[in-house]
């Protein structure tokens, strides 16, 4: 029989995770973990439910930016108006995960730590340059989101470590973001490609800062600096879009599977990057 513990402090959680006899799994929303438990894909000796840790669920504004607790559900994220206004791309990405029922439980931290290459919130968080605060036996450390997943189902978290929260920086004026995913239907599917873009433009419409990230086209979601370079210093003109498209395609290292071939995913990555950038650019223009 598996053990279950719901620690009420960060320190206790990392202590029980590090000291577990056998394997331990962190439980947040559980929408991935329970499926894996039932299928036998994971068989932990101990489940550590982090939801009783104060502050690990919920969103707060801090230093002009936001802190999102790792166990915050998609539904809570979708109901946070200030976050929606500042980071609509992150909110739309998180809200694409699963059904209404799944949104009620599935957490932002779980979406990252489950380490699916197709996780919807991850490209949006990477493009936002979100920082993860990771708690562990040696205290806390901060890493950018793209350094957490190392491959499908694998993360860089060490023994006793778990994700505590995401930090989002303060936004300059005329900044926004967007996330699009491609699936062959309108709802409830896994991304064939996902694209996140976050950018800032000046009063004349020239892009002064940009970050582009892609999902489902490599073993982990990718930050694509070449794609960002295509945007910076330009208005979102044909040259910028063509260079962005090409840079996004060049970054792809996808697999062939039932959802898409290598060639198809690569082409779609370029198209999605264009469309996502256009939405982010439009939104940024509306954020004086």
């Amino acid at each position: 029989m598996v053990g279950y513990i719901a620690p009420s402090t960060v320190e206790e959680a990392s202590r029980v995770l590090a000291g577990a006899a056998g394997s331990a799994k962190v439980l947040s929303g559980g929408t991935d973990l329970l499926v894996q438990l039932r299928s036998g894909r994971v068989n932990p000796d101990l489940i550590v439910d982090i939801k009783k840790i104060p502050g690990i669920s919920g969103i707060r504004q801090q230093d002009g930016g936001f802190v999102i607790g790792a166990a915050t559900s998609g539904a809570e994220i979708g109901e946070c108006e200030p976050l929606k206004a500042a980071w609509p791309g992150i909110v739309e990405a998180a809200n694409l995960i699963g059904s209404t029922q799944v949104q009620g439980r599935a957490s932002l931290g779980g979406n990252l730590c489950n380490a699916s290459p197709a996780a919807d919130s991850v490209p949006a968080l990477i493009a936002a340059r979100a920082i993860c605060v990771i708690a562990g036996p040696k205290g806390r450390r901060e890493v950018p989101v793209e350094r957490v997943a190392t491959g499908p189902g694998r993360t860089s978290l060490g023994p006793g470590e778990f994700l505590l929260e995401f930090r989002l920086p303060k936004r300059p004026p005329r900044s926004s973001d967007a996330y699009l995913r491609f699936i062959p239907r309108t709802e409830m599917d896994i991304a064939v490609v996902g694209a996140g873009v976050s950018l800032t433009r000046d009063a004349a419409g020239v892009i002064t800062d940009a970050h582009v990230a892609l999902g489902a086209v490599a073993p982990t979601a990718l930050l694509v600096p070449e794609a960002a370079k295509a945007l910076i210093g330009r208005k979102l003109d044909e040259t910028a879009l063509n260079l962005l498209d090409k840079a996004a395609q060049n970054a792809c290292k996808p697999i062939d599977d039932k959802r898409g071939t290598i060639a198809y995913r690569t082409k779609v990555a370029g198209v999605l990057a264009r469309r996502t950038a256009a939405i982010a650019y439009q939104r940024a223009g509306e954020r004086q």
Partner: protein, 158 residues
């Protein structure tokens, strides 16, 4: 490892149960508490037949451990009618013949009630998106959506 003692409120009734930690809330609702209205369809969060609310939030009870219910308020399909008086959604499902085999119906009703509790006047599109996590293999969904919209209209008139 021993069984866990869980204290919760189910359909307004303070309820305690003992369970092994790996059991889902759905397992305990059905097998321990004999609330068999919540159905097991897929056990992977795809079909919505096990839908319940936890503190008013719609969830799949198959994707939640029973021990996670500690201290929370659960509403199931058994709490929907008041005695013999059906909830308007239940009546409208009957009027519109929004069910055939009936297996998905409790999940649809719980999910639809959660929608109307939040939004008393949803559009058809909002209703269809909200219910995208509930699968029905019999009706083709149209009758279900019409029943929900009709129930919403009736509830707004009262």
């Amino acid at each position: 490892m021993s069984k866990r003692h869980v204290t919760t409120v189910i359909n307004g009734e303070p309820t305690e149960f003992l369970c092994e930690p790996q059991l889902t809330l759905l397992d305990v609702l059905r097998d321990e508490l004999h609330l068999t209205g919540s159905k097991e369809g897929c056990s992977s969060g795809d079909c919505g037949a096990c839908s319940v609310t936890v503190d008013g939030r719609l969830v799949c009870s198959c994707l939640m451990l029973a021990v996670e219910a500690e201290g929370h308020k659960i509403e199931t399909i058994e709490g929907m009618a008041r005695g013999h008086e059906l909830h308007p959604l239940q009546r409208k499902f009957l009027e519109h013949a929004a069910l055939q085999c009936g297996f998905c119906t409790p999940g649809f009703l719980v999910a639809a009630k959660a929608l109307l509790d939040r939004n008393p006047d949803p559009t058809e599109t909002e209703t269809r998106y909200w219910l995208a996590g509930n699968l029905c293999r019999c009706t083709g969904y149209d009758k279900i959506v019409h029943a929900v919209l009709d129930a919403a209209a009736e509830m707004r008139r009262k």
